[in-house]
Amino acid sequence: MAAVTSPTRSPSARSTSPDPAWSRWANGHRKWLFAAPAMLFVAVLIVIPLTWTIYLSLTDAEGSVRAESSFIGFKNYVDVLSDTDRFWPAVLRTVAFTGIALLFEVVLGMAIALLLWRPFRGQRWVRVAILMPLVATPVAVGMMWRLIFDPNIGMANQVLGWVGIGPQPWLAGRSTALPTTMFIDIWQWTPMVALILLAGLTSLSDEPQEAARIDGASAWQRFRHVTLPLMMPTVIVAILLRGIDALKTFDILYATKGRGGGSFHEVETLNVYAYGLSFDYNEYGVSSAVLIIFFLIIIGLMWALTARRKKEANR
């Protein structure tokens, strides 16, 4: 800051570097000097495992990664892609989990954002309350819900009892487990979507709203035809940010249902499946193939969403 306010300094006096040649070189190459360490760090930490994973996915490695294994080409991929017992159900669950949770998070998040849009007294405290679930440690959140949803001693069934509904199995039921974990995800992450959408709403200009109001549009019409189209890019960002993490959800599933996702693998998503293949079954070859496919799925979805966002932004 001092330098800015002393414009009278001469060029020779202001040089802070002891070695002007080095300084000149550094300034000339600052683009990569700045960017390279971080990129190298990530690249090394990704490239080694990724190369390794691709290699393993082409072998029949099992038991131990150091055990002898032989090269079997794409057999693991063929096996995985034709596995309707575990793999495809896991894909379906991953897609359902992400899709349904995201749908609720966006709809509820939008509703909350709209409620918070116009300032009111106590808004700060409402915001703080909203922040709490999403900063809470996911594993702790999983444990918390595990107690609340316990079929015998949990609060959830007690509350249902008060309104005359019989006890539900929640996490313990074959068909209720996945929806229950979705609920937990929705509870934890709707606030984040709401905050992102609120930031989007706040940055909108008031003019189109006013114009529509003068035209006599109802609140719903204004939302549907004015606010929502303007918000689309933000909604897509929210879906993108949340979607990546939702696809990879692990902590709450591990905390509530353990490895393998239950007796019927009822909450086994791709990430949980890959984890189980690696660390429970020690099927490193198959596991690697699943991981590579999973990785490609995530990249594909991201790419599609980013393309969509560009389209929306350019409209």
Binding site: T51, G63, P169, G173, G260
Partner: protein, 434 residues
């Protein structure tokens, strides 16, 4: 070859990165050096009463030997996750490891993770390896080499509620499985809010507790390399176990219960009979954990058509990481932790041991409820030395042979499912024979 060079190149890059990025964090990390023959011994243990007891006694060992013991303590699955990463990577930062002989033992031994202890166990006559029961020792031996020392043993016994039995007009706990079925139905009829019977229902967790039913019906998981989970005896056992839970079990029984959930139902006073491992008995008799502590009784596993044949197995053992650079000290720890004195102290604190002399010593069972001690003694006689199929891929196979259990609980025909399971199980057996 290709893999080698890839790793080599990556290593070089990682070294550069390590120097550039994390020199500071590495040096401040404290005990960074995984010492060779060092004074610090790294011991990895599971959450268990045994672990609590040994931690309390550690001071003595450290004084005797001048070693410093660093205990890493983890939950059962977290422990096996860590082993699978660390041992897989050939890590040397684990010296002594607590492991489950029947679950991971075969895999670890096959992968060469466990050091050969054959010489160590014979070195000290006072420590006396021959004192350990033959069954458990058999499971910690791989291809003629001793790879572990069993520390905790388990048998399946019948937990029951004396008061509920009296209420239903019964005077003694059932001696046979048929009596158990009748008694469970009678309890449920007397009070529909209370289940007659509860047990594990999770398809993988239930396998071990189902095994005693299977043996008592005259079956087993496999025989001479042939899967036998679709034998007539096995089909009857599946139907019996599942049927008992379906007819006399808790309302809306979940198929997700391992022992904590099943135990909770029992200790909440919501079930009359419960078949479970004896090593968990403290949960039922400790008033801080159990509402029914005063009315719990124990009985030997009820007899089936083939008699009463519960499993009698070592659930945990201590081994040494083959890559450890501190194996001599690691053995010192094992020798101390499994000594006669420590074992007796452990058993008195509620951890059933694998030492014959401790069981023979009246002091060894002095702290146990009388009926439990009797039940254990009875089970130890006719016990079967495994409670799950003895294969390398235990996890997968448990899920396979556990499937008919959950089918039976949910009211489907277990016989068809047993046929499918048998085929799938056979495939695993064939693969491992190769």
């Amino acid at each position: 070859m290709l893999r080698r060079s890839v790793i080599g190149a990556s290593l070089a890059m990682a070294v550069a990165m390590g120097l550039a990025a994390c020199g500071s964090s590495g040096s401040s990390g404290g005990s960074g050096d995984s010492g060779s023959g060092s004074k610090t011994l790294r011991v990895t243990l599971a959450n268990h009463v045994w672990t609590e007891n040994i931690k309390a006694a550690l001071g003595d060992f450290e004084k005797q030997t001048g070693l410093k013991v660093e205990v890493t303590q983890l939950g059962e699955s977290q422990l096996s996750d860590q082993y699978n990463v660390k041992l897989n990577a050939g890590a040397s930062d684990i010296d002594v490891m607590m492991y489950r002989p029947l679950q991971e033992g075969k895999l670890f031994a096959k992968n060469g993770y466990l050091a050969d202890l054959s010489k160590d166990v014979k070195a000290n006559k006072d420590w006396d390896f021959s004192d350990f029961q033959a069954g458990p020792v058999g499971t910690t031996t791989y291809k003629g080499k001793v790879v572990g020392v069993p520390i905790i043993t388990e048998r399946e016994v019948l937990y029951y509620r004396k008061d509920l039995l009296a209420k239903a007009g019964l005077t003694a706990p059932p001696k046979t499985l048929d009596e158990l079925k009748t008694a469970a139905a009678a309890v449920k009829a007397a009070d529909p809010g209370v289940a007659g019977f509860v047990a594990r229902t999770d398809k993988s967790a239930a396998v071990t507790q189902f095994s005693s039913f299977l043996y008592s019906f005259g079956g087993d998981f496999d025989k001479n390399g042939k899967a036998t989970v679709n034998s007539d005896a096995a089909k009857q056992a599946y139907a019996f176990y599942g049927g008992l839970l379906k007819d006399s079990g808790p309302a809306n029984v979940s198929t997700d219960m391992s022992w904590p959930e099943a135990m909770a139902i029992f200790t909440q006073g919501k079930a009359a009979f419960y078949t479970e491992a004896d090593s968990l008995y403290k949960n039922a008799t400790d008033p801080a954990k159990s509402k029914v502590a005063d009315t719990v009784g124990f009985a030997p596993f009820p007899a089936g058509p083939a008699g009463s044949k519960p499993y009698n197995i070592p659930s945990w053992a201590l081994g040494i990481n083959a890559n450890s650079k501190n194996q001599a000290n690691a053995w010192k720890f094992i020798e101390w932790a499994t000594s006669k004195e420590q074992t007796l102290a452990q058993q008195k604190a509620g951890v059933p041991s694998a030492r014959t002399s401790v069981w023979a010593n009246p002091e060894g069972t002095s702290t146990y409820p009388k009926d439990l001690a009797d039940a254990i003694a009875a089970s130890a006689k006719g016990g079967v030395a495994h409670d799950r199929p003895l294969v390398v891929k235990v996890s997968q196979v448990r899920e396979v042979v556990g499937q008919p259990i959950v089918e039976a609980i949910t009211g489907k025909d277990p016989a068809a499912s047993a046929d499918t399971a048998n085929q799938a199980f056979q495939k695993f057996l064939d693969d491992e024979q190769k």
